[in-house]
């Protein structure tokens, strides 16, 4: 369960997020949709406690991100934008490192790592150094790394960026599996079709504000557009007029 209440964040003079509120319930896939520079990544960064909000608050499972960031991180599996791996370590070592850092007991660490390798189907390159991995391979390893401690809340920042069709499909498959397990999945994307195909709940962000939120159907109704793309454009357009 992830909740965001009226957060704002500026970097110098640039206001990255002005006022964002939403909640992402357990057992649902929530999509943060918006154009580039809308403030999606900044919002997610606040959630996985890489940065602190200037105003407002956010919580994971009811735990405030500013008050107890370590506990928040324990309950989160986060895949930040870019997903850099350690080139000199193998995929398995990369995953095991994060397992150890999450405090996964040594006795069950290799089992957990193996389960992730099975889940993400990365057997073929699990024991190769990650240097030279394709973007799809990297994302899979990074995801395995983020999920190895079995978090109940998962945050993915533009996970499908740079993935081909097959890799995107298998990623969707994994995200759905997480929902089936009752996890709270929050992911951001600037690709409308991506969100439409996967999400139960959609939060449309533009210019650092939430311009619309609800289920896919609710958004169609609100905007009066049958086509979600039109609805998206209309939702963004409104805030741009306002600004």
């Amino acid at each position: 369960m992830i909740e965001v209440r009226n957060i704002a964040k500026s970097f110098g003079k640039v206001k990255a997020v002005s006022d964002v509120s939403f909640s992402a319930p357990d057992g649902r896939i929530t999509g943060l949709l918006g154009p580039n520079g809308a403030g999606k990544s900044t919002t997610l960064r606040v959630l996985y406690t890489a940065i602190q909000p200037d105003q407002g608050s956010a919580s994971v499972d009811g735990i405030d991100v500013s008050r107890d960031p370590l506990e928040v991180r324990r309950r989160l599996g986060a895949l930040p934008h870019g997903a850099g791996l350690y080139n000199q370590l193998t995929a398995r070592e990369n995953i095991a490192y994060f397992a150890a850092m999450h405090g996964v007991d040594k006795s069950e660490r290799s089992d957990r790592v193996q389960r992730m390798i099975d889940l993400l189907e990365i057997h073929d390159f699990a024991d190769r150094r990650t240097k030279g991995f394709s973007q799809g391979q990297k994302i899979k390893v990074a995801l395995a790394r983020a999920l190895v401690h079995g978090p109940r809340n998962v945050i993915l920042d533009e996970p499908t960026n740079g993935l081909d069709v097959m890799a995107t499909r298998s990623l969707r498959h994994i995200i759905r599996k997480l929902r089936e397990d009752g996890c709270c999945v929050l992911f951001s994307s600037h690709v409308m079709q991506e969100v439409a195909a996967l999400c139960d709940e959609i939060v449309i962000v533009a210019n650092g504000r939430v311009s619309m939120a609800g289920t896919t159907d609710a958004i169609r109704q609100k905007t009066g557009c049958d086509d979600l793309e039109d609805a998206f454009v209309r939702a963004i357009g409104r805030t741009e007029d306002a600004a």
């Binding site: 370590l70 986060a78 930040p80 350690y86 405090g103 990074a142």
Partner: protein, 392 residues
Amino acid sequence: MNRFLTIVLKEIKDNFRDRRTMLSALVFGPLFGPVIFAGVISLTLNQATGKAQKPLPLAIVGAEYAPSLMTYLGQQDTEIELLEVDAETAIGLVREGEKEMVLLIDAGYGESWEAATPARVSLVLDGSDQSTSRQARRARGYINGWSQQVGAMRLIARGIDPNVARAINIDEIDTSTPSGRAGLVLGVLSYFLLFSMLAGGMYLAIDTTAGERERGSLEPLLTLPVTRTALLLGKLAATCFFMSLSLAIALVALAAALGYVPLQRLGMSVEFGPTQVVTAFLFMVPFTLIGASLMTVVASFTKSFKEAQSYVTFAMLAPTLPIMVAAVMNLKSTAAWMAVPSMSQHLLMLDLIKGEPLNATFVAISVGSTLGLGVLFAAIAVFFYRREKLLM
């Protein structure tokens, strides 16, 4: 504590796998310094002592005027060449560099000799050349030897004790131990050692900040339930480990290289065995914390690996400043200087190389002040690592 260790081990494994980095950190850095150093020193020594061993080549014009001098010179360690040219030509030969040195014997030599007045000879040479100056000193020594010998005989012939003509006799008592003289030459070594040490940790210091950010692995790392302080301290510890490794290799290489330097030819002996290696390692290793933190702080200001590399290389020169001051001002170990990191290591290194016993209080001050400044620098590094800007 567990996670701290996990970080340290991971960084060490990561760094060890990077072959290029390993090569520069553990091979080129620590080995090349001592090897090149030993090479240069032995070359210099060979030049300095080599010429003294060989007979002195001496071209002479007008040898026929001074047969007894010729006989005397012939008995010395010389190689005489008789020139059949006039004085003008001989001077020209030296000016053009065809002859290093020519001894001109005046036509009036014989007459003065008979009259027991000073007979004239001239030594033609280019004094701006150091090695010629050395040769000239030898030539002058031989001729003076003959002059004194004959002078003494003349006094005896007149019934006078030759010692009457000598009012003062100077005895030189050189208190420098053989190794003390070597210390002057080897002082530069502490700089080499410090530099190898810094070079050993440079890659990791950059990699843990600018490098990790550039690669995009920093942000995932920050999502882990570990404080940034713990993360940075783990990385600093790994950096210190590599710096210590470089230092150890450099010291062993130095000990080995010194075995090939013919210092004994100058009557010097440098004791640099296992005991000295271990001692030097122990008083130099506290400096790794300052070095690692300094490089990490500098690297955390930069945007990319390349940018970090140029700034860190520059920062690596900072610890050499106190060493330069110590070398130029010819400072000796005192309690006050021991409070200055890098200078204190340099001075202790000099003492060690000279074979002088190390003052335990001095070592304690050096280690204490170095660790103190190291902790301060580490705190600054942690401060910068905790800023949100680290990610941007």
